[in-house]
Amino acid sequence: MKSDLLRLNDANRRDFMLRTAKSVLGVSLLPGISAKMAAAEGASVSGPGTPGFGKAKHVIYLWMAGGMTHIDTFDPKTGATKGFSDPIKAKADSIDYLGGYLPKLAENASKLTLIRSMSSKTGVHESGTYIMKTGYEPRGTIVHPAMGVWASHFLGRIKDVTLPDSVIVNSGSSYPGAGFFPPAMSPIPISNPETGLQNIQPTTTDNQFTKRISLMNEFDSSFRKKFQSEDVKAYSEFYDETLKLMKSEDLKAFDLSAESPDTREKYGRNNFGQGCLLARRLVESGVRFVEVQMGGWDMHNTIDNAMTNNGNTLDTAFSALLLDLEAKGLLESTMVVLGSEFGRTPDVNENDGRDHYPLSYTTVLAGAGAKRGYTYGASDKEGRRPADKQASPQDFLATVGHAMGLPVDEVVMSPSNRPFTVADKGTPLLEVFA
């Protein structure tokens, strides 16, 4: 245990990364079994050389929690199901209109690709969220990994920094996290972008802190010897990783105060706006996958009020993020993705709200290899069903996985020996890539 500690003090960064990569990748997983469908299909739909493959070195997933209304945002209608606001003409080649609550995004629509033919089976928040983050329906017997964790599995830990591969902003929980992969691969949740990583400073001198760690390991040695379970080991890995992070120079990525007041204002002074700004900083520092959550989308009542607030927050932050990424030259390598568990009913209910509606909704892609100002698929006239090129949550996530350069058709066996693929055999929508 002592030698562990010494090594930790003077270990160089690369050593640590190698060690973590080993512990993360080497544990309990059989080597991936290639199960290319190519043999049957005649040609691979994904893989090196196909459009957009591997262009997204980073992904920022804007998560609209609660079920984002498609008709009032990215798939506005003018007929019987029109919302309370008038659609705005989008400035883009093949995007017609955006919802009236999103004027800034309409202005920047030339950076967006809309997938307007999304359709899913579940109108329940929990399972809808789960499917849109993992590609799998929730099961009582297994937890599936989130997309950023699949990337860590196939691409290895990010290089040259001690920062985590994946971060979730505006959430206290990383669920579903690493799923059946080792827990050390879990995204790090940041509850509040303003405070960043809390408790990162020890409350004592470095010297005393080192003593404490050493004592901890001594007192704990017999317990760890007796209980060599994965859970206990995973905890010890988290301690190692945390200690490394505490000493890291890279931590300043979490500090929003390094941004000018002007920049911070542009994103909107709210958790989602500042969360998007934090996502940009993290991506800039090398983090691979950042999810930024925004709540308030479960608009069963008075949707006009609710959209006025939420629409503005989203419009401001998303636009600022795109402009900022572009200005910094990061939009070429970063894909911004927007999703939600489902859409909302085309018909307005008795409370002037809309209810859960999985049959038709919209997701958004921007940056990396995605086409600029493009609409993939369409819903019908009233936004009730996909009318063209129906896409499932699995197709959507497979598209993201493809953009990240993941082998989406490669089968990975879980520790319980069950076969899984990125996005549950979804087909990447190659048409969205330029």
Partner: protein
């Protein structure tokens, strides 16, 4: 000879005073006063042979026993066969806890042996018996955590360890089941299962009366079937006051999912009947082919029920437009800006429309995308109960009237909570079993697809029968479980893969839940955390309540004003400092070493004082916001966000480790004001101080090696104690329940 002595010492140390229910076992005392619970087997020459409940035989010189026990041994008749795996008598209605526990043990034991072919497939060695008996130190920590939801404090742990009464385990179980901690810990469990939240979806609607109701039922040890019946049949607003002075909190169950009746039904079936209907979407159910039609037939029982009162429920007038028409001129007259106030007032009124009511029309229809041959979209659906097997047709639970639209929920609830419902008793029994062992007999507990596929079908069925036999008395059921030999075994050390079946040779090693971890910290800080309760149980219900049929505009404004003041009042109520904790300081004249100003606020109800430390409210998890606010210790530790059934996680993460290492909670514990230090100050000798520190934090004495480490640490500088406290709360041993 030396071997025998070592073996004997081990036997007596490991099995100290088992108050378990092992048939015919007795407590044997040796010449040193150490005790073990074991069956007499025979005398062989100079030696006696005893069998402990794990089935192991122990042979040692008779002279090692106390004189009294030597006499008993000489008079005893040799056992004809080893009793461990014998069949126990069938359960009588009035069986004692000991008999009931023995029967459970018997089923667990036979399940262990039957498991071996399955284990062999997983590459595991065969097992034939339980893990060794947990020692007193392990037991006292575990049983406090499992029953009272926290570690024992110094006095509680040392009292138990010193106690030489052979029945002390059973006594401690009884004592804890009647403690405050039992209530708060069981509440935490149900709050997670039922996704209880402080803030409901509609503005201003808080779960407070629902939370209060749940706690009350647990405190009264209300039978589970009655509680559930109340929840699914309650009518009205949560804050309606009932004739007996209690609030109608049970309505919170349906209102939690207001406007989402289908979600609510899916959750009801999952939680109370262990039937996950989501599976019908993608694969055939092995016994009962769940179809979408069946789901809607079940939903039809709730088809006449609304969770939002409209004009037709309130005497024909829309309360909002009627009241606002009177309120708006009043506000304009007073010179205030109606545009700034309107939304708030409307939301306040609207909160009172959130209520459960049964109408006389069942509106259940097939969805617009219905695509099966047995119906068309928009077809009305009549209520019908699902069955799990052909035999269910003759099951008395199914004899329910479905005629009266306004009583459909009652029919459903009578069927669901009926003792003979094929899943109701089994589901709660399986869940309660998991609380003790870390795994259900059937996993997952949310889907008992086929009981015969569970890890021990006989045990599962028996536990369901036991639940019925004790009339859904959860406390009595848990008393039986905690008294089993299986539960009192050491935690299992072997690796168990996700999804692998578990056979209960002892409890699984579990990480503390977020609530257990927080409440254990609170124990380290406060000593008796249950003496500190959240204030304001009542204020919310009083100030939010409007009778929308009779209230006049002026009253709405007055009450709205009062309502808005609650928040300010709540903020003012938090305050006392760390030095107030533990009680004894307040009695002593000795001035506190802390220079911080002591502010203890008096409250209107509740015991009175809420202490805080740097903004952290020092209250048990059950007493603070549900779920806790983002960034709170509880959230970092994986408390359920209360969206998913049983939605907590017990995996580590970096923020969590940062919290333990550098957060406020550790600062509080290593501060010289902390209760740990104050306990240590009561003795002089450094080695005694160290022993107290270990007993307070780990609930065990330090080992020889640890004493050496402590000596070295104390010799190296002043901060030795604080460093050791820090180190101990950061160990895996602290975080995991053995």
């Amino acid at each position: 000879m030396k071997t025998t002595q070592t073996l004997l010492a081990g036997l007596f140390a490991a099995g100290l005073c088992v108050g378990s229910a092992y048939a015919e076992a007795r407590t044997w005392t040796d010449v040193q006063g150490r005790q073990v619970n074991a069956n007499f087997v025979r005398i062989e020459g100079e030696n006696i042979v005893l069998q402990t409940a794990d089935g192991a035989l122990h042979q040692f010189p008779l002279t090692r026993l106390s004189a009294e026990d030597q006499a008993i041994a000489k008079a005893a008749k040799p056992a004809e066969t080893a009793p461990a795996m014998e069949s126990a008598p069938s359960m009588l209605a009035n069986a004692t806890v000991a008999q009931a526990a023995a029967k459970v043990d018997q089923l667990v034991a036979s399940g262990l042996i039957k498991a071996n072919p399955e284990r062999a497939k997983a590459g595991k060695p065969p097992i034939s018996k339980y893990n060794p008996m947990a020692n007193d130190e392990q037991f006292v920590r575990r049983v406090y955590l499992d029953i009272a939801g926290r570690i024992p404090n110094f006095d509680e742990a040392s009292t138990f360890i010193k106690n030489s009464d052979p029945a002390k385990r059973a006594q401690l179980i009884d004592m804890l089941l009647d403690s405050e901690g039992y209530k708060t810990h069981l509440y935490n469990y149900f709050a997670e299962m039922l996704r209880v939240k402080t803030d409901f979806e509609t503005d201003n609607v808080r779960g407070t009366p629902y939370i209060g109701w749940l706690k009350e039922q647990i405190a009264k040890n209300r039978p589970w079937n009655e509680m559930v019946y109340d929840m699914t049949t309650a009518t009205g607003k949560m804050w309606d006051k009932k004739p007996d002075g209690t609030y109608n909190g049970a309505a919170g169950y349906l209102l939690r999912d207001a406007g989402m009746p289908l979600d609510n039904l899916a959750n009801t079936l999952t939680v109370f009947l262990g039937t996950d209907v989501a599976c019908a979407q993608c694969h055939d159910h092995p016994f009962a082919d769940w179809t979408q039609m069946q789901f809607y037939e079940m939903a039809s029982f709730f088809g006449a029920t609304t969770t939002r009162l409209g004009a037709k429920d309130l005497g024909g007038t829309d309360p909002m437009s009627k009241l606002m028409a009177g309120i708006e001129p009043m506000i304009e007259k007073s010179g205030q800006d109606i545009r700034r106030l309107r939304n708030g007032i409307q939301n306040y009124i609207r909160a009172n429309q959130v209520a459960v009511k049964d109408r006389d029309m069942n509106g259940t229809k097939l969805p617009h995308d219905y695509k099966y041959k047995d119906g068309k979209p928009g077809d009305p659906v009549a209520p019908k109960f699902v069955t799990w097997s052909a035999a269910d047709k003759n099951n008395p639970a199914y004899k329910q009237s479905k005629k009266n639209e306004e009583k459909l929920r009652e029919s459903f609830s009578s069927w669901m909570t009926h003792p003979q419902n094929p899943r109701f008793a089994m589901t709660i029994a399986n869940r309660m079993w998991k609380r003790a062992f870390g795994a259900g007999v059937n996993e997952p507990v949310t889907n008992i697809d086929d009981p015969d596929q569970s890890s021990n079908p006989e045990l599962l069925k028996h536990l369901a029968n036991e639940m019925v036999r004790v009339k859904f008395d959860l406390k009595q059921f848990m008393r039986i479980v905690y008294n089993t030999r299986a539960y009192q075994s050491e935690a299992t050390t072997e690796k168990i893969a996700m999804g692998e079946k578990y056979y209960f040779q002892g409890p699984m090693l579990r990480r503390m839940t977020a609530e257990q971890a927080w409440d254990s910290y609170m124990t380290l800080v406060l000593g008796q955390p249950d003496t500190y309760k959240a204030p304001l149980q009542d204020l919310y219900a009083k100030s939010i309540d409007l009778n929308l049929e009779t209230v006049d505009p002026q009253t709405v404004l007055i009450k709205y004003d009062a309502y808005r003041k609650i928040q300010q009042k709540e903020n003012a109520l938090m305050g006392g400092g760390l030095e107030m904790a533990g009680g004894d300081m307040m009695m002593e004249d000795k001035p506190s070493r802390s220079t911080k100003k002591q502010e203890v606020a008096e409250t209107t109800d509740g015991p009175g004082k809420v202490l805080s430390y740097e903004g952290l409210q020092l209250l048990r998890a059950s007493e603070i916001a549900q779920p806790a606010r983002p960034g709170h210790f509880l959230i970092d530790f994986g408390q359920s966000p209360r969206n998913l059934i049983d939605g907590s996680t017990s995996i580590g993460n970096v923020p969590q480790v940062l919290t333990i290492m550098n957060g406020k909670a550790q600062k509080m514990l290593t501060s010289p004001d902390s209760l740990i230090f104050r306990n240590m100050e009561k003795v002089r000798d450094p080695s005694e101080k160290v022993e107290r520190m270990f007993l307070t934090i780990m609930n065990r004495k330090p080992t020889m090696n640890e004493k050496e480490i402590a000596k070295r640490t104390l010799g190296a500088g002043e901060d030795g104690y604080a460093n050791m406290i820090w180190a101990l709360i950061n160990t895996r041993e602290f975080m995991f329940v053995q």
